[in-house]
Amino acid sequence: MSVPDYMQCAEDHQTALVVVQPMGIVPEDQFFRIYKRIASVSQVSIRDSQRVLFIRYRHHYPPENNEWGDFQTHRKVVGLISVTSCTTTKEWPQTSDRFQGQKEVFGSTLYDSRLLVFGLQGEVAEQQRTDVAFYPSYDDCPDVEKRVEDFVESIFIVLESKRLDRATDKSGDKIQLLCAPFEKKDFVGLDTDSRHYKKRCQGRMRKHVGDLCLQAGMLQDALVHYHMAVELLRSVNDFLWLGAALEGLCSASVIFHYPGGTAWKSGARKPGVSSAADAGKRHRPGALTTNGISADTSTEIGRAKNCLSQEDIIEKYKEAISYYGKYKSAGVIELEACIKAVRVLAIQKRAREASECLQNVVYINLGQLSEEEKIQRYSVLSELYELIGFHRKSAFFKRVAAMQCVAPTIPEPGWKACYKLLLETLPGYSLSLDPKDFSKGTHRGWAAVQLRLLHELVYASRRMGNPGLSVRHLSFLLKKEVTQSLENYTSKCPGGMEVISLPDGLKLPPVSFTKLPIVRSVSLLNLPVSLRPHKVKGLLGQGMSSASPFIYSPITMHSRGDERSKKIDFQWVQGDVCEVQLMVYNPMPFELRVENMGLLTSGVDFESLPAALSLPAESGLYPVTLVGVPRTAGNITINGYHTSVFGVSSDCLLEGLVGVKSSGCMVEVVPSLPRLQLCTSLPRSAHLSSEDLSTSVSLRLFNGEMQQLTITLENIGTETLNTLELTSKNLSTKEKLFGEFLTWDLQDALSHLPLKSGQSVSIPVNISAKLDFSGQENLLHDLNDDGISVTGLPVSSPLRQVLKPRAENKPVGSDMLEAVLTFKYSGGAGQVEGYSRELSLGVRVDVEPSVFFTRVSTLPATSTRQCHLLLDVFNSTEHELTLSAKNNQDLVLHASECQRYTHTHTQTPPSLEGRAKKEDRKNEKGKEVKSKKRKKLIEKASVEGVLNQLILEHLQLAPLQWDVVVNGKPCDCDVIADCRVGDAVPLEVKLTNRSKSAVGPFSLTVVPFQDYQNGVQNYDLQDAVSFIGSNTFYISTVKPTENSVCVGALLFLYTGDFYLNIKFQDDSTARDLPPAWFCLPSVHVKAQEPVEL
């Protein structure tokens, strides 16, 4: 006997073996259908005796195993059921013959047999035969089960008769010696009359009877017989049979203790029917009287005594196995006994002893085993280890079995079986092919073993002819940070993201290369400044107020915090390229080429633009920007990214990644907005003083120079631009900046709106730089230090005391002006939502000083209405320039030259409108400077504002205008009034008030004097000049814009040159009118001899 039945369990001792075989050509599926129906009749209650007969069906049974039937009766084939197809009557005799032949194979042991004929109809089928059943077809055989039951009952009758026959054998009779097949030749020529031999025969027979009792459902009797057999056989050292008797004892005890069965597929057995306890009760002591061999079996106490305890079962099993071990030929028996013991131990949860038993199984040498048997053996070992909870050991044997499937000695390796077995080992090595478990830590440990297994899986799947599986496993290997060249395989079969389903239902989830490369952080990038949408303030306010009715509530703020941690506070715009930055690094020692890297998003229709990158070996953190275009508006969530590495596509979800820093993945996408592109007539400058600027220009201007900048805006977006606003902001707040730095006219551009896609509009912007390079204080000091009294007025300014050292031509560097032009525009769907965009242009002007006035001073002109303005003009440029102002002649200034420039200036009456008018006057006084460069390029620069207000004060006429009229003739400094001696000369002093407030009252005294031109002034003129009326005038209060006239008369008594000094006497001390306001012209009167007519 060489073929072990690895499925054996202790209960099998109880069963009768029936072989069901196909005969002739029977379709396999049809046969197994019938076989299943037959096998369903596994236990039959015998009507009369209340006993149950268990049947074990086999569709294949090696005849050499049948030879062991005497040794253990459950190995004996007692029934045969043949299934055959027979269509015509002619075939029938042939079929019948073949049935006879088949019977002969097991002929020696068969109790009964049946033939099931399918397809035969007619005369032959009509005949009633007990051993043959005819059915018209495989589908039409309703009473198969009934037939089988009858058949089983007939077997039982034979069995029972045999049992009785053997049991009643008188001990005095010659008892036949039962032998195991290999023993037969050992007993040739042995003395059959010795006591020893007789005892051996008795013992063996007793054991045989025990087997029969067990099969016949008489458990109690069986136990008794086994006990007796053990005693008998022990005394004669018949170890093989002693072992068998012990095993029988164990089997019977197991059946008693574990009515549920010890096989792990226990479903077939119905425990209620086979309950040993019931069976024991049913066996009334009287029922045992038929057993004539021993009277003591009839006692009730026998049950407890005879039945082995749970510990004893194991003990006896061990003993039995050790006896079997003495015989090489009984290897199969030993093996099966071991397996049966393991099953019992598994039920008793004595895993360690079971493992020892199994260890023993490994060492049992069964001689030359075929490869298939080896595989079966290892598989069974693995299953048994699984049964006792030794998953690792189980996995080990499964793997060995798998390797056996493809052993080099096998001509046709079963890669599929190997692969299937290998897959089954995975749990034992705590390997899960699902990458989701990866992060749970189940992949920790035993890397070497796991790797080996994965390698084998890869190899097996490749040899199986399923490169897809191979790729999947290799990917998995790679994921375990082992480098393998996948590319060879992926070129044949691209690794996808779909789940691969194996035929046996196992699903291989896709493996994502989340570690190739490793992503450290994910951050969504805001749009560039020029493209960011700006919400209109009013609408934003509404949105905020609707979000919460409270202005401030800490509770709602807190609850919002969680939401905000996910949502990012900037917006993306539909239709514009949006960016996400990943910090990645390559952990591999080789260059990693990542292709088709894109974003996985949800919420919004997003068009991902894949990128390809190549990471150097073991790179540091490497920024990768993934871009995409949202196609619709709404909230978009970045879920992850997809890559293609080594041809394997992977989808990596952020939530599944460990150690990824993310500042939130959700962002709002606002409806599309137009896009403007800005280009200027001036070259762009790289210098961006603040990063908010989208572009910037810089230029150099001489102070006072003006230049035009043409800005061209082109709509490069798809939306129509509807609104455009332009504002400017000066960055450098220069107090000494005069005039508008940037001026523009938007009307022309606005008339072009709406601006369709692709259209452009130009806006001219004037840039003028007017800076004061000369310090104001210095100028004033210069003025004062020169001691030139403006229009002859004694200056008594308190500033005069503040004397500072004069800086002579101090070098003045260039200055810088910066401003930002902001274009705010909107259009399209975004405008409806209240969004707009801003485009800003930085303008930076380096202002070079051109000419400036180092000193300003005034000289009184001859007239009170005029003065001389002296300007020291300094040319700080490197160029020669020509200075021209108003109608004066040109003045050529060489580089870094300073010249005095004189300008006669007519004082104009101050206006009453105040400052605005003064500004006008400033402009009026502006000098036009034409600088002529060497290149003959003429630039016009207007130098204005250099004359500050303090100086202008001097240049202005006092708001009180005094007019002196002598003899009907207005007098000024240079005018000499003629009069006759003896004639009354009328003198009129007129005050016109141009100031804003009423002035007066004043008193004026006219004092005449003679100037001898030698420094002596004679005031003693009472004799020469007499006043008609008073020489003192009183002027009452003069309201603004009104005037007051005082009239008097003088009488000159002698000829000569007389001067009239009109002295001003102010009686109100509180008055703070500046003294310059009271500069009255001195009157020069020439008295002549009266003309004698």
């Binding site: 030794f390 690792r392 440990g445």
Partner: protein, 139 residues
Amino acid sequence: MAVCIAVIAKENCPLYIRSVPTQGELKFHYTVHTSLDVVEEKISGVGKALADQRELYLGLLYPTEDYKVYGYVTNSKVKFVIVVDSSNTSLRDNEIRSMFRKLHNSFTDVMCNPFYNPGDPIQSKAFDSIVSTMMVQAC
């Protein structure tokens, strides 16, 4: 002396495994790995009440044709496995015990290292040298 010494964490992943014939490393991995079944069985077999004064030394886990596998479990369920050659009959149980004790002491030292993260593979040189003294000198 030992041919393979392994330290296995509470979660049954190896913290340290070293064997003398380096080419047959995988074989020892299998051996130690499968021995864990027995270790687990032995640990669970001991009654809860006795857990406190449980003997750390588990004794022979299982013999194979060529090797004997011995086990030892610390109170924190860290397992030590020593594989010795079956032919080395001179080795007595007491010697195995002392080897385990030595190993345990050294392991405790490793754990005391503030820079060691529990659960990481052991890379201590001191531990390595202790293990080396217990291993068969490869010729």
